[in-house]
């Protein structure tokens, strides 16, 4: 079932990408100065379909199936590629949002959890939390990945099955939205660069040129970033809530430290160390 869902996810993102590309190509071949842009585009699509259908009829019946399979494979493969390259483009933004919206507000109960598992995570967590925005986006991306992976694996180890299903669903939706955002980003880059550098725009009015090379790409950029950011925030809001409730259920001692109010982070960490030492002594005796 999950394999089918993934296949559908790649097909949706790949399909949107190719739709964007066809729209872009249509936009670039419509003659400048055309009064009704929408009707010209539809007429052009109609002509292409007629030519395509005529070519298929001439070539024989077997070719249709081969072309259909090849098209499906191409769409699937595009979706896969988009899914693979999208982290490269959105990682730094996500790293910053993860720190600002997830780690910093929940520091009071995350600190003792990280200290409990200091052998693996404490150094990365500390470096990542103390970094400024530039370091966070450029330098500490590995630390971000490490902290994120740790929290996810903690949840996957301790949380119950029904909760995990909600998380995996959210993760899947977030990944799909990121791939969709990526396809919009590619379209924006192609639109602005092709019209600015490759295409001869002598016959376009400055208004059309401005809208095509600056207005629409910026709009696409804003939409793609906001889609990705909102889905990422929703996902981590759920993970934060689930991690907290899982800690409450499985390791309530960790939360004792976070309930001591009016103390600095250093004091909280020292208290957590003391509690941990006491627990170890008890276990030894």
């Amino acid at each position: 079932m999950k394999q089918i869902a993934r296949f559908a996810e790649y097909c949706v993102t790949g399909g949107l990408f190719w739709l964007c590309m066809i729209s872009f190509y249509t936009l670039s071949v419509i003659p400048a100065g055309e009064d009704n842009f929408f009707v010209s585009g539809l007429t052009l699509w109609n002509n292409w379909i007629i030519v395509f259908a005529a070519t298929l009829t001439n070539m024989g019946s077997g070719l249709e199936k081969v072309l259909f399979a090849a098209g499906l494979l191409a769409i699937f493969f595009t979706g896969l590629i988009l899914d693979m390259i999208s982290p490269r483009f959105f990682n730094s933004l996500e790293a910053y949002i993860f720190k600002k919206k997830f780690l910093e507000p929940n520091q009071s109960w995350l600190d003792p959890l990280m200290l409990e598992n200091d052998v693996f995570i404490q150094q990365s967590y500390k470096q990542y939390l103390e970094s400024n925005w530039f370091e966070c986006c450029v330098k500490h991306k590995k630390n971000y990945a490490r902290v994120k992976a740790f929290i996810q694996s903690y949840l996957f180890t301790y949380a119950s099955g029904s909760h995990l299903e909600a998380v995996t669903d959210k993760i899947q939706i977030w990944r799909t939205s990121r791939s969709l955002a990526m396809s919009m980003l590619v379209l924006a880059a192609l639109l602005s660069l092709t019209y600015a550098i490759v295409v001869n725009t002598e016959t376009l009015s400055t208004a059309t040129l401005g809208t095509t090379v600056i207005g629409i790409p910026i709009l696409l950029l804003v939409i793609s970033v906001s889609v990705n950011v909102s889905m990422f925030q929703r996902l981590w809001m759920l993970i934060a809530a689930l991690t907290y409730t899982t800690i409450c259920k499985e390791q309530p001692d960790i939360l004792k430290v976070s309930r001591i109010e009016g103390r600095s982070r250093q004091e909280l960490l020292e208290t957590a160390k003391k509690i941990k030492a006491e627990q170890q002594k008890k276990a030894a005796s």
Binding site: S92, L185, A189, L191, S205, L209, Q233
Partner: protein, 103 residues
């Protein structure tokens, strides 16, 4: 977050609405007007190159954005002028791309 997003989206829509104000003045074909128009075009293509370069530069955050923006802007400003001599100015937009694709 939502307010900020709405504000940015509104600005983009307004920018799209404002652009026709700067449309070409076809009624006056004086030399000064033509030069002005050409300058405006150069800056627009430079802006487009800048936006596209910055988007592609996201591959390497911040530094890549800056480099992409500058490189795209410079290319957008100078390349169309170099190409103008090669192409027939009367041909439709996209025809150059079509020719390149077919070749």
């Amino acid at each position: 977050m939502k307010r900020k997003f709405m504000a940015i989206l509104l600005c983009c829509f307004l920018a799209l609405q404002i652009t026709p104000i700067y449309a070409d003045n076809h009624g006056n074909n004086g030399a000064a007007e033509e030069t002005n128009n050409q300058n405006r075009r150069n800056w627009l293509t430079a802006g487009g190159g800048c936006v596209g370069g910055a988007i592609l530069g996201s591959f390497l955050p911040i530094i890549g954005n800056a480099i992409g923006c500058v490189a795209g802007g410079v290319a957008g400003y100078f390349v169309p002028n170099l190409m103008t001599g090669d192409n027939d100015p009367g041909q439709p937009a996209g025809a150059a791309l079509l020719q390149k694709t077919n070749a």
